[in-house]
């Protein structure tokens, strides 16, 4: 019998991955980013949250290779004198955390709703899908503006800073679950009329068991594909919210709030404050989308001819 490792080695997934340079490069960059985010406290030369170590005299130092640069701060420092590289690493960590958290929340709500909606059909389907439509017609920004305004008012700005991460996860998660629900529903509709589902009904299994043990595992490959794109979207949403000042506070900046903070100084010549975080965000989103495209091509059975 083949072991799992052997199977993976011979799989089509690995084969097409090895042949696709774009996928390989994207995957490598993404892995580096994710590791950097995970180990930010270890990798970062300074701790941007530690106010004691920050010297206001170090503020607005340009990158080290530019004249006036300081070799202590590779990418320069921000307006408060924090090392930009360290702040970006911590920011990436927060962005990734919010992105993945939001996607997990979206997936849980969306898969549940899509599965029930697709399998039950009829009125249940109609009601759930109309709710999804209503949800989609609220833009993420609008929901975020209202919710964060309410939270800031009720808890005050100080408490808000602590609540920001879970709050953003919930806002972005709630705003985008219908994407999942629709994808899963479409996939369930395709699966539920297959004969193996009828065979399960002939055995006498109940709906719950058929849904979760038979249909769900076969409906997940499109979920995998949209998950990659949804992580990118969630990170983008978070960046957009933070850029508008509705996301992470400057004291615990995400990539988006870094871009926002630097944007005010762009005309005073401190270009690096916006430039480096923006480049980081663009590359991060780009590699995720490239990987998502590759995954979609590989998992699409119409394109796959073995």
């Amino acid at each position: 019998m083949q072991t799992k490792r052997q199977k993976f080695k011979e799989s089509y997934l690995l084969y097409s991955f090895k042949r696709d340079k774009v996928a390989m490069v994207s995957f490598t960059i993404l892995t580096i980013f994710l590791l950097a985010a995970l180990f930010a406290p270890v990798l970062a030369p300074y701790d941007p949250y530690d106010t004691a170590s920050i010297d206001i005299m170090d503020s607005e130092i340009p990158p080290s290779w530019v004249a006036d640069g300081d070799s202590r701060f590779f990418l320069g420092t921000d307006i408060m004198g924090r090392d930009l590289l360290s702040t970006m690493l911590y920011g990436l960590r927060i962005s990734v955390m919010i992105g993945i958290g939001a996607v997990i929340l979206q997936a849980i709500i969306g898969i549940g709703v899509g599965l029930v909606s697709g399998y039950m059909g009829g009125k249940v389907d109609a009601i759930l899908m109309r709710i999804a439509d209503v949800q989609l017609s609220f833009s993420t920004l609008m929901v975020a503006i209202i919710v964060s305004a309410i939270v800031q008012l009720t808890f005050g700005v100080g408490r808000y800073e602590q609540l920001a991460v879970p709050l953003l996860v919930v806002i972005i998660g709630i705003a985008e679950w219908p994407q999942y629900a629709r994808t899963v529903r479409a996939s369930v509709l395709g699966e539920k009329n297959k004969e193996y589902v009828e065979a399960a009904r002939v055995i006498g299994l109940d709906s719950k068991r058929i849904m979760f043990s038979h249909i769900l595992p076969n409906s997940l490959s499109p979920v995998l594909v949209i998950s990659t794109v949804q992580v990118a979207n969630a990170v983008m949403s978070e960046a957009a919210l933070s850029f508008l000042g509705l996301g992470m506070p400057v004291s615990r900046p995400s990539i988006g709030s870094l871009i926002n903070a630097g944007f005010e100084y762009i005309f005073s010549g401190a270009w690096w404050l916006t430039f480096f975080p923006a480049i980081l965000l663009i590359i991060f989103i780009l590699v995720i989308n490239l990987l998502g495209d590759w995954l979609r091509d590989v998992l699409n059975p119409k394109l796959y001819k073995g």
């Binding site: 109609a126 004969e195 399960a200």
Partner: protein, 338 residues
């Protein structure tokens, strides 16, 4: 007959295809009304299946044979009519009340590529019905049952950890049969079990099904469009056209003396392998849609023997003569015109 295992009475199954509320709204002669569009898949079919026999239902695509099979199995609730299993009515049972019957009746499907869950190994596929119906069964017993059934259907029990995609179509169909047999049913509905298979594999599966029937005393309801297969496996044959039973006879009688004009056309259309060409009976026109059924005999629009009565009056399934057991629904046959 006391030894009937399944009996259906006037079974009717319509499918509503009119969609949502808005799609049903129609304006006719200035009035807004709800209009339902229904596919009349099965229209009042009655028959009995005797213990140990193989009743084949044949017909062309869209004649309602698969719907009939699924309605008998309780996968679709009938629109009207009754289904009896060993004298007990089962069409109106809740899924819980149905459970004891689920162990006794099983189904084999057409497409072995779709009828096995691709994410479940052979072991998981076969284990599920066993554990579900025999709650307190030991692991050793499960293994024993599985090995026994796999052996019987000709799949090496050592392959139980493999997944469906690792098997060929014929082997998958064997596994699907094993899944049906593993809880020891007495009645099996087989919906086109060999149509998706190559000729040499077809013979293997048919032999397997007949062996299983002998060894376990199974009763089959065999749905197919292939008249050569029917001739080989069936004890009795029911011919369906547009949701209606045209003719019901023992296999020998049906192939020797087909009475209904549709049965005659169907039989003449089978390609002969031995090179003895037979003239094909041509049917006029096209099959009407099951949404708007023809009045009278459903076959009249294509029948060369049709007269006024056929166009207006629905023929009943009647015995042809005292000497023959054939039941035929045709005015021309009843009147002796044919």
């Amino acid at each position: 007959m006391n030894d009937s295992i399944v009996r259906i009475e006037n079974l009717v199954k319509y499918f509503d295809i009119s969609g949502g509320f808005l799609e049903q709204l129609q304006i006719r002669s200035g009035k807004v009304r709800l209009h339902k569009t229904e596919v009349k898949a099965v229209n009042g079919v009655s028959f009995e299946i005797a213990v140990g026999e193989t009743l084949a239902v044949v017909g062309e695509s869209g004649c309602g044979k698969s719907t009939l099979a699924r309605t008998v199995m309780g996968l679709y609730p009938p629109t009207s009519g009754k289904v009896f299993y060993r004298g007990e009515r089962i069409d109106n049972l809740s899924s819980k009340q149905m459970l004891p019957y689920r162990q006794r009746m099983q189904m084999i499907f057409q497409d072995p590529y779709a009828s096995l869950n691709p994410r479940k190994s052979v072991r998981q596929t076969l284990e599920e019905p066993l554990r579900f119906h025999r709650g307190k069964i030991s692991a050793a017993e499960v293994n024993e049952r599985m090995a026994e059934v796999m052996e019987q259907v000709g799949v090496n029990p050592a392959w139980q950890d493999r997944f469906p995609h690792e098997f060929s179509g014929g082997q998958r169909q064997r596994i699907a049969i094993a899944r049906a047999l593993v809880i020891d049913p007495e009645f099996i509905v087989a919906d086109e079990p060999v149509s998706a298979l190559d000729v040499s594999i077809q013979a293997q599966i048919l032999n397997l099904m007949m062996d299983a029937q002998d060894q376990r005393g199974l009763t089959y309801l065999f749905i197919t469009h292939d008249l050569s297969v029917v001739r080989h496996v069936a004890t009795r044959v029911a011919v369906m056209y547009l949701g209606t039973l045209c003719e019901l006879a023992t296999t020998a009688e049906l192939y020797d003396t087909p009475y209904h004009p549709y049965t005659q056309a169907l039989l003449s259309a089978i390609p002969r392998v031995d090179g003895t060409k037979q003239k094909h009976i041509k049917l006029a026109g096209e099959i009407p849609t099951p949404i708007n059924l023809p009045t009278g005999c459903v076959f009249h629009s294509r029948c060369i023997h049709a007269d006024e009565r056929c166009r207006n009056e629905i023929p009943e399934l009647l015995s042809v003569s005292d000497t023959s057991g054939s039941l035929v629904a045709c005015h021309a046959v009843a009147e002796g015109r044919l």
